[in-house]
Symmetry: C2
Subunit: 215 residues, 2 copies
């Protein structure tokens, strides 16, 4: 949202002198209270200022940036996750590569024999193994995977932003979406940089999905 | 930005009857023109309605979604690209894998002997070769890469959204950022799903960078 010069000046005044009444702001700007009314209404309704009856205006600390950021932070993992592709700990690295190509994913989640998350296997792990001297048919995935508890994961209700930060800071391409089960985690989805990319695109297109209430 | 009920009603009326004057809108809502003034000011300044003097109000077609989407569409490749990692066509697949691990990237851009973009090599291409029967030291990257003109690329001034869409629709992880040079393209950067993820995170944090003008 683009504010005009006077609106920027009002924010500046309120930042410095809050609480301050509309009358006092008008005086500082040498305009009438009536002139300011639409500006103050805009600044209040768009979240820059807060008006408290009989006290005056306060600065909320929001900027157009933080208002946009709030919209972004509303996006949850549940809206963007993909189905997980899992493989058993005892499967061979060769089988894992085939699975990765068949399912066209960049990461596999490894489960133990209770079906709980045991590790994560990336294309990079497999490539490292493939150029090594070991026989891909003889190496079980449990030997080359990243292993619990050293793997990052997320929950269905986490924000997409938190997952994006996790992927960047841990320098990984995907995390499993998990749900507590017994002493471990059940894998219920996957969040990858592809899902983040889709979330990014969705921000640029929300206008379209707003036409219907179904989305 | 959260609009109130009356503001939503006003948008609805203008959508149906534009051009329509403030007086006529007030009449429809059984309120005075003065009551509506702040609402109309907000809707105009935030871009939902357009006011043409002596004609009336028009609906711009914008929703809070499209206003957010405009912010997202302002992000350009130039702000988010990473340095490209290039390799020569004649290099071996084995050398490419090493390069990928040393530089910690998921894609290499292959250049011909004039330094122009000839192809793109992904981790997936290398993994496919690695589990095949060929000797990685004997296969040149030119044999296993995706080759011009069948590769997607972007320019420095493209929007991040367009690149994100390209990565999703082509089901690839990275595109080279190129600049025209002679009969081909010089590689000046790379845009990957990691860069899109960073752009996404930046949207959630723009508030911070707005504090200073330097960013």
């Amino acid at each position: 949202m683009d504010l005009n010069d006077r609106q920027h000046k009002i924010i500046q005044i309120v930042r410095e002198k809050a609480p301050i009444t509309g009358e006092q702001i008008a005086e500082q700007l040498s305009v009438t209270r009536a002139t300011l009314r639409p500006d103050l209404a805009i600044l209040t309704m768009s979240g820059f200022l807060e008006a408290r009856p009989r006290v005056g205006y306060f600065y909320t600390g929001q900027t157009s940036g933080t208002i946009l950021s709030e919209e972004v932070r509303k996006l949850k993992v549940g809206e963007f996750l993909s189905s997980p592709v899992v493989i058993e700990e005892s499967a061979s690295a060769y089988k894992a590569v085939c699975e990765m190509f068949v399912e066209d994913v960049g990461s596999l989640f490894v489960v133990d024999n209770s079906g709980l998350l045991a590790g994560v296997l990336s294309r990079k792990d497999l490539l490292r193994t493939a150029i090594g001297s070991q026989d891909m048919n003889q190496v079980p995935v449990s030997v080359i995977m990243s292993r619990m508890p050293n793997i990052a994961y997320c929950k269905h209700d986490d924000t997409v932003v938190d997952v994006a930060l996790l992927l960047i800071t841990k320098e990984i391409d995907a995390v499993p979406v998990v749900r507590k089960k017994g002493n471990g985690f059940e894998v219920i989805g996957r969040m990858t940089k592809t899902n983040i990319t889709r979330a990014f695109v969705s921000l640029a297109n929300v206008g379209e999905s707003e036409k219907g209430d179904s989305e």
